[in-house]
Amino acid sequence: MSFREEVALTLRGARMQRRVIGALIIRELHSRFGQHYFGYIWLFFEPLLLGSAIGLLHYLSDHSAIFGPFEFFAAGYILYFIYRGILNRATIAIRSNLHLLYHRTVTLPDIFFARHLIETISCIGVMFVFMFALFVVNGVMVEDPTKIILAFIGMALLTQGLALMAAAATEAMEGVERAVHAFTYLTLPICGMFFLVEWLPESLQELALYVPMVHLFELMRDGQFGSRFQAHYDIGYVAAWILVTHLLGLAALRITRQRLGLE
């Protein structure tokens, strides 16, 4: 096959994949929420409500050391919501979409990409609503929205890599599903939602920065109120995590697909 033919073939594949993912997004919206508008509203309000509730709790319990506890925790929760939402749903994604695989154009990664796009876009939308509301109420604008969006996209990609691996592991072994749910909660205290790296004692700072999520929380807060603290993050480190988890996850899903028996 000549180089040109190969390029043409790849382009055709990319077009088909885009078509398939588009179709799956529409289907996912329909089947997750039925035909009722309430479902679409819920997609949006779930992170917003939970985020605000957590922000409010911390606001009321008065952490006087923390600047803007409401913004700090509510935004933190919305970012955490991407991680939790994508990773927890990964364990059932294959089983609940088996029938789609009867159409040979649909691949396992397509199913995940479609779900994750919905999840990410809705969370970024929620974040925008949230920032706008704070601007209206408090008159305070975040310092750099680009960094915030970047943090969300980074979190979505990192979690996607982990989700692909988790999904493949769920198919290979029993009990993984429960372990994944436990994992998302157990990582809550160390993921960076509750702290800034600079608050930690020096010995712990280094340890915390091994956790890729911590970098993303730092990046988001740098966008929120970067002039008021010293942010610690390394985008290259997160990118390496994203790359490695994707490679492992996609390879594992390829094996999963070959072993998968449809009814």
Binding site: V20, A23, I26, H30, H99, L100, Y102, Q258, G261
Partner: protein
């Protein structure tokens, strides 16, 4: 334009050891041919259908497709119960890159589901489900239809429309019923204990199958 099997193997690991479904199958089905594949219950017919349709991978060997082949059309595999018939039709039109409106209209008209067309498929009777599945597959238009026996293609409006359609395109019918294969196919293969044998003569295939 054809479907080619090149030394295809398939086995599953089970608790009792390896279960062999296919052991080195070879064959070629050209565009427009109507081929029956006969096998007793449990011989691995459905697995074979899924492999021909490209939704299950062979353990070893190659299946080459140079014509468009439908998804395995059985009871209602490939459809989502939470979605309405209309949404399922639209999803499939999108997946295969076809005109959404044309397909939805054809399916609405052909499946005769009335108001049920806009209801979730889990509320359908099995007859309604297979009517929808068949209507959608006819609307999409393939070179070759891959059909699992469960489909009731009797002398109904459906049966006649289906027969007319496959008259123009091709058919691979997997069945345990020699009568069905005789009615719809021009040649046949027999699947027995992992060996798939193609016969050019339909009668020879049926005789072999009946002697199993």
């Amino acid at each position: 334009m054809a479907l080619e099997l090149i030394n295809v193997h398939k086995h599953y690991p089970t608790r009792m050891g390896r279960k062999i479904i296919l052991h080195g199958a070879c064959g070629r089905i050209a565009r427009g041919e109507k081929v029956g594949i006969l096998g007793r219950n449990g011989s691995g017919k459905s697995t074979l259908v899924r492999m021909l349709g490209g939704v299950e991978a062979p353990t070893k060997g190659l299946i080459n497709r140079t014509m468009t082949i439908s998804w395995p059309i059985g009871m209602a595999a490939g459809f989502s119960g939470q979605l309405s018939g209309a949404d399922n039709a639209r999803l499939i039109a999108r997946l295969y890159g076809r005109d959404i409106q044309k397909i939805t209209e054809f399916v609405a008209d052909f499946s005769e589901l009335g108001d049920y067309f806009r209801m979730p498929m889990m509320t359908y009777s099995s007859g309604m489900r297979s009517r929808l599945a068949l209507a959608v597959s006819l609307a999409v238009d393939f070179d070759c239809y891959l059909v699992d026996e469960a489909l009731a293609v009797g002398d109904t409006r459906f049966g006649r429309a289906f027969a007319e359609k496959i008259e123009k395109s091709g058919l691979i019918l997997v069945s345990h019923s020699p009568a069905l294969v005789r009615r719809l196919c021009t040649r046949a293969a027999v699947l027995d204990q992992g060996i798939l044998t193609f016969y050019d003569d339909l009668d020879e295939a049926l005789a072999t199958y009946n002697a199993l």
